[in-house]
Symmetry: C2
Subunit: 475 residues, 2 copies
Amino acid sequence: MKAKKSEDLPEWYSEVVVEAGLAGYAPIKGFIYLHPYGYEIWELIRSHLDKRFRETNHRNAFLPVLIPESLLRKEAEHFKGFTPEVFWVTMSGDDQLSERYAVRPTSETLFYSTFGKSIKSWRELPVLVNFWNSALRAEIKSTKPFIRTSEFLWQEGHTIHATKEEADEEVMRMLEIYREFIEEKLAIPVIAGYKSQLEKFVGALYTTTLEAVMPDGKVLQMATSHNLGQNFTTAFEVRYLGPDGQMHYAWSTSWGLSWRVIGAVIMVHGDDRGLVLPPEVAPIQVVVIPIYYTDAEREVVLEKCRQLVSRLKSAGFRTHLDDDMEHTPGWKFNEWELKGVPVRVEVGPRDVSERKVTLFRRDELKRTRVDEPALEGAVKELLSEVQRNLFRRAQELLRSKLSEARSFEEFARALEEKGGFVRATYCGSEECETKIKDLTGATVRVIPFEREPPLSPCIVCGREDGVTAYFGRAY
Amino acid sequence: MKAKKSEDLPEWYSEVVVEAGLAGYAPIKGFIYLHPYGYEIWELIRSHLDKRFRETNHRNAFLPVLIPESLLRKEAEHFKGFTPEVFWVTMSGDDQLSERYAVRPTSETLFYSTFGKSIKSWRELPVLVNFWNSALRAEIKSTKPFIRTSEFLWQEGHTIHATKEEADEEVMRMLEIYREFIEEKLAIPVIAGYKSQLEKFVGALYTTTLEAVMPDGKVLQMATSHNLGQNFTTAFEVRYLGPDGQMHYAWSTSWGLSWRVIGAVIMVHGDDRGLVLPPEVAPIQVVVIPIYYTDAEREVVLEKCRQLVSRLKSAGFRTHLDDDMEHTPGWKFNEWELKGVPVRVEVGPRDVSERKVTLFRRDELKRTRVDEPALEGAVKELLSEVQRNLFRRAQELLRSKLSEARSFEEFARALEEKGGFVRATYCGSEECETKIKDLTGATVRVIPFEREPPLSPCIVCGREDGVTAYFGRAY
């Protein structure tokens, strides 16, 4: 690693993504590809979330990647919102198509015209479906792997309900699943709440969001969950026969989480040596490194390492033995630190003879020596401790980037000095919200679910009895 | 089910796909979407294969869905082969792109220009990567879900090796993994061998294939594994420093299996009542159906069913309790038979009092009654028996559709009367192969790996010492 995280976060970020072997730049500007090490993090994310989705009765399915333009146009606001970012297919072989097809920017329209069509009675509701796929939205700004790319891996959940209340509950249920996942598995604390009307998903009744703060003070949206009201069901004629014998338009929700959370993991936990992965999403949780000087030692140490790896694997840890003979232990230490492996087991000849092993924790860069028979227990304890410690450190980061402002001057100063979230009160109008954005670059990131008492009159227009919200400059 | 499988296979097929809740037709001609029940079959296929890929040191990764035209053009034959089927992106938002992007028809070109670029020395070889994604190839013929669609789910494996021998080994290793999977999990016997030069993958040195026969006598390609020689590595400058200190062009392979194998499962195993799923890929292996007449009975029977479901789940079977109160047991029997669930457990009041349960096997439509405490063992035994029996039946189907021909007349007659595979000898020239295709619609499906003695002179031109191959009319 050449760049320092504290000195040049963007440069450090680009370097760590490539050097740690997570991703690379594809031949089309704005697109990236993932190496196995990067993709395996996504597979772990998928497997954690999939389990929770299934426990809450959601099932996975498949929708095509192409969407006819006419379909996308059916919900007018939605179309207007997405159209500048859409990649259009206009030809098949040498033939001009009679209608353009959008490469999936999101699947609401396709979902209602397929899964929404067959619903007849309230007995068939709710419909709870999830899709793991990729979505495409042309990015004009410079590419930032995971954070700003024209194609991104994500999941999009889509559900249809009989009533607004049930849709409301679904929105909150899924946001809570995201919150739990992001805090407990990714070790990143978030602030939860509503988006403002200006910032909500195009076509939604309201959007709920989870937002996290990055070390440079910029704020990152981690996941969103939308109540789409009856906007789409009306446009797509999704109706059902109620127990009252009448036809009703259904209510719907959608919710999504993308690979940008990997970007957050990199920025929040990483350090000058590279990546630091939370054990819950680390493709390799434990790397075992043999240390020897002579051929005789080599044999003894390697044999011991193989035993330990086999024990650690049996105990359920994702374990890798680095028995490469090209490189020195020092080189390997650097390499696996760069790749963010949470725990390293070092085994030298003295360790073998004393029945000890040395454990190194990536987060605090500290060594301890433990009795070899107690290895599994020690590793388990250490992995939990790393996971907890990363969350604690991220909580400190969040706290250090939280401030309050009671006037526009305070607001602007807090943003300049600290960045992060600035809690402030505004009248709730789009006019003042836009003014704040134009003057400072900050947007309303979160409006807390529980209305908070005003800190002051509106920091722009001075109106009383406003909305207290978290503002920030976002990625 | 209205259509009969034996009377009208295409009609029966379309009906079963929709009525069993596997898939539906998307708004764009040629595209389908999958319901959860259909997608879960694909998830099981993925999980079986993924395990084998990992055991053989392959790792999953991610490549973008868009490929610049210039990249696709780099391997000339490859481009020529795919270009009539490519969907082209020409616009992003309102802007005309300066270069067209292909929506992924296959990822060879992208793979070499990303994963191929970083290779320096022979020590980094082999590179063994797999991608689970979807590919798009415009289909002009009428849509047949899973078998002929413009977008299909698949996996594409891509590997880079130092020598031809290693690439040869990889090709055969992966073909064998496919064969084992298709025969053992999908219960469909296949014939393995080479494709002819006319039928090979565009850009390949040679293609190996697994082919199965369908009940209508048509042949279906189940999976292919290609040695791409140095064609792509030359075009994409994928070179490595050998242990000899010289630069060498690498060798490469690719191999793929798509959701069309689900089409084969439907056609080979299904019957007039609908789908019959092999237990290994059945999203629900056991469905439990309560039978009762009075409210008092209902309580007792449902309570027993819940116990049994919990026991079956603990024993590791994918189990579903159909406790819906809208429908009669008879209706439910039909429904789950249509959906092809391999084993049904029926529980009535008499079963409860006698501590018995009734098991129904979907393949042979037969009931047996077993002691309730022995349920897990009986279900395990029955699922294995269903799996074995489906394979036996499919082997009989294959045998019944195999014939030999020693002249063109015999060949044409065998094709007309039986369809399936006709073993015959031809001189090996593209001319005679094309003539056979033009006159009969049959193509060379498989050339056995071990050269087989000629059955006759070439059935077209009469030349001696020809190639004995399996011909057939293909989907």
